[in-house]
Amino acid sequence: MPEAIMKVFRGISREAGEFKTYKVPVEEGMVVLDAIHYIQGFLDPELSVRWNCKAAKCGSCSAEVNGYPSLMCKTRMDRFPEGQEITVEPLKTFPLVKDLVTDVSWNYEVNKKIPPFTPKPDADWTFMQEDIERVQEFRKCIECFLCQDVCHVLRDHDRKDVFAGPRFFVRMAGLEMHPLDALNRAEFLKDHAGLGFCNITKCCTEVCPEEIHITDNAIIPLKERVVDEFYDPVLMFFKKIFGKS
């Protein structure tokens, strides 16, 4: 059976940790998470990793494979040429817990602050499939946080204090575009979620395993909403006169 050379990050701090090399037999159709499980089951029971579904449905097994933010359960071993070392390391944007596990609790804090779904009081709960295609696209999100990991505002500039990140723009777009939602989140997006920090580099869209068009379908329409609300000259004029929109 062919063997793969896995270089896996081990340790409880980025500085003191190091890559350990393991040789793993490769079966047909194997994914990187299988290799990690092999290491756990046969070579090193202490190796820490998150996973649940093994089917790219739960978003638990995010890591950087050869430097690319990936779901390990979806990354086939045969993508890499035989003999090439495969490095697996934890997401860079979040604090390390141990080995491949990072502390992603910040994301849950952000989520709590988002103004919740608020249906119109007179909603009769009838709406058409065509009206929800977009919303359903956003609701495919499995919260893998790969987009958060790759976005430079978080990864390079660590602006977790002011920026909600692409995952939560997707979530807010899903709420804003729900045909029966009555809330307006423009102000929240501008002042609390830091939408303005996004400069549309599309890196988030590229890594999304659910193929959500994060930038084009969620972020840009949200930016347009914020512009309409706060910077549209005609609207501003009316606001001045009537005190509200």
Binding site: I12, E27, E28, G29, M30, V31, L33, D34, Q40, G41, F42, P45, E46, L47, S48, V49, R50, W51, N52, C53, K54, A55, A56, K57, C58, G59, S60, K74, R76, V97, K98, D99, V101, D103, V104, S105, Y108, N111, K112, P116, F117, P119, W125, T126, F127, M128, Q129, I132, V135, Q136, R139, K140, C141, I142, E143, L175, H178
Partner: protein
């Protein structure tokens, strides 16, 4: 003694899948303080993997549907061994629970009139499953999660409960550890709701996630509750069989609901010949009739054609596939073919998007052009903690349960789609039951230091053993025993061997050892998970040995027929002096007016 932190709540919910979240929301809404513990991160629980849909008789697509029919289908699917009251409440309340999800922000696929769309599923008379493509579970868990976080529920993520604490007979709290750093925690709680899901990780081929290690089953047994119907283990007929790394991964029943056809390697559409006599007339007789049904379903039209034979109940389809493969008519990788490629490719991608991607990415199969290869995979346990249908309370005061960890609702076999509805109907009821129980209590029960000390020692032990066994190796042994002796088809001598080998393995598990620190140490976690799985494995094997008949998911080669006498009893498992004990208890009798709903005579062959 090692340090531990303490948290105090009125109600502690263990498990944050659909049932746990729904229970926590309900308890919290009724004004008590709620803690919610989950082994994974929030939103990753096994519910996320549910694909096909939620069964609820909304009658949006088939106007003839109603709760009585749903009730009857559920009881028939469960071979009349269900707790009738649970099945009744479930059928009556599921529609409201689904509408409530919609009002909390879930976005279901729509009918042409803009209502919630419903699809056909095995064993359901009418099109009944509300769905979002094939990712219904994700929609449900996200909706509940987002609802829950705005309600002030305290969530303890990546935390495992290892013991329930009691004050005399009553529940007083729970003990556990945080996976992140291994620190211990005591939850003082007046009531505990178990919503821990199932037991699948004791089987090598399973659709279940790593979390499914029978935690709630074991916690309940050790706290004095009893488990019923543990012999009923559902093998889902269609799991992936290739590549090896994903063997067992679920292929949603939605594929068959949308018209997927099963064939053996000879090209024969074999399900026609496995239809049980009792229900044969509910299914199409010819390929042509089945095709007319599918065409009408796609066009959203009425038809007099009957549904395809692939929509027989899960237990029956799983056995049929097993037998076809065993008879040498299997596919190259040891399954059968499931084909939806004859349909319009764009429609398949739209209705079954995750299946399309799953096969494309993991197996190099384009399901719009080629058939899939599928075979049975351990999927669900019908048995579990015996609870009161209305309140979810077990026989231990203050201990409640909801969802897969409980028994009774699904009898001998669960219908697809009845699990998600089970979670929200009984999650809500258990949350309410626990809140009401708490409100009626006079004083807070006290946790005893002795119990906490014992719980700490139990967790510390694997680090102290020097000559111990590797927990992963022990899990592989457990896999081998369960798949060899306690599988789809059972027989007395196999079960007896299995039980003896489980006993030996239980001794070895007592010696499981691990090195390293407590920081996110999966081997350490496994040492404890194994003790839970061993208990539940014994419960399954002994229950299976005691039921000398075939019924629903329980198929005995040595007793192929159903025995009407055994249709009146549940198998109950409990602990006495640390030993697993078994007795048969009478099945609650259905009231007359519900009996009237069953006109057909009972079948004598099990199918």
């Amino acid at each position: 003694m090692a340090d531990y932190e303490v948290h105090e709540h009125d109600v502690l919910v263990v498990g944050a899948g659909g049932a746990g979240l729904r229970a926590a929301i309900e308890a919290s809404a009724s004004g008590v303080s709620v803690g919610l513990v989950c082994k994974s991160l929030l939103g990753k629980a096994h519910t996320v993997m549910a694909e096909g849909g939620i069964a609820a008789a909304l009658a949006n697509v088939d106007a003839e549907d109603g709760w009585q029919t749903h009730f009857r289908d559920t009881m028939n699917g469960g071979k009349m061994l269900n707790n009738w009251r649970m099945a009744q409440l479930h059928a009556q309340e599921a529609p409201d629970r689904v509408r409530e999800l919609e009002q909390w922000g879930a976005v279901f696929d729509r009918t042409r009139e803009g209502k919630i769309l419903q699809r056909a599923f095995g064993g359901h008379t009418w099109k009944r499953l509300c769905h979002v493509g094939d990712r219904t579970g994700l929609e449900m868990i996200r909706t509940l999660q987002d609802r829950g976080v705005h309600q002030g529920i305290d969530v303890y993520m990546e935390c495992a409960v290892t013991r329930l604490l009691k004050d005399g007979q009553r529940i007083a709290g729970a003990f556990g550890y945080f996976r992140e750093d291994g620190r211990y925690v005591v939850f003082k709680a007046k009531a505990v709701v178990l919503a821990t899901g199932g037991v699948g990780r004791m089987f090598p081929v399973t659709s279940n996630s790593w979390e499914y290690t029978a935690d709630g089953h074991a916690l309940a047994l050790r706290a004095g509750a009893d488990l019923i119907d543990m012999e009923f283990v559902q093998f889902h007929p269609t799991g992936m069989v290739w590549p090896p790394g994903v063997r067992g991964l679920l292929v949603t029943e939605g594929v068959r609901g949308e018209g997927g056809i099963l064939r053996n390697s000879a090209g024969e559409r074999f399900m026609f010949k496995y239809l049980p006599e009792a229900t044969r007339k509910d299914y199409a007789e010819t390929e042509d009739e089945a095709k007319r049904w599918v065409d009408a379903a796609i066009a959203g039209q009425k038809t007099d054609a009957r549904r395809p034979p692939e929509l027989s109940t899960r237990d029956n389809v799983a056995r049929s596939i097993y037998l076809e493969v065993k008879a040498g008519r299997g596919t190259p990788h040891g399954g059968v073919f499931l084909d939806i490629s004859y349909q319009d490719a764009e429609r398949v991608k739209r209705k079954l998007p995750s299946m399309y991607h799953q096969f494309k990415e993991l197996a190099d199969v384009d399901i719009t052009r080629q058939p899939m290869e599928v075979g049975p995979t351990m999927h669900y346990i019908m048995g579990g903690v015996r609870v009161d249908a209305d309140t979810g309370e077990s026989r231990v005061p203050g201990l409640f349960g909801a969802g897969e960890v409980t028994g009774g609702m699904h009898g001998a076999n669960r219908l697809g789609g009845n699990s998600l509805s089970d979670l929200i109907v009984f999650g809500r009821r258990a949350g309410l039951g626990a809140a009401n129980y708490v409100k009626a209590l006079n004083a807070r029960p006290q946790c005893s230091d002795d119990e906490i000390k014992a719980a700490v020692e139990e967790m510390e032990a694997p680090f102290k053993r020097t000559d111990g066994k590797n927990p992963y190796e022990l899990q592989r042994k457990l896999h081998e025993i369960m798949s060899t002796y306690v599988g789809i088809f059972r027989e007395e001598k196999d079960l007896k061997t299995g039980i003896a080998r489980l006993e030996e393995l239980t001794d070895e598990v007592r010696h499981a050892a691990i090195t390293g620190s407590k920081t996110y140490n999966p081997g350490w976690h496994m040492c404890h998970d194994l003790t839970n799985m061993m208990l539940a494995a014994q419960a399954i094997a002994q229950s299976a040995l005691s039921r000398k008949e075939s019924r629903g998911a329980h198929s005995r080669l040595d007793y192929p027929d159903t025995d009407p006498h055994l249709g009146k009893v549940n198998t109950s498992i409990y602990l006495e002096g640390g030993e697993v004990k078994l007795k048969q208890t009478p099945l609650p009798e259905m009231p007359e007016e519900l009996k009237q709903l069953f006109v057909k005579k009972e079948a004598t062959r099990n199918a």
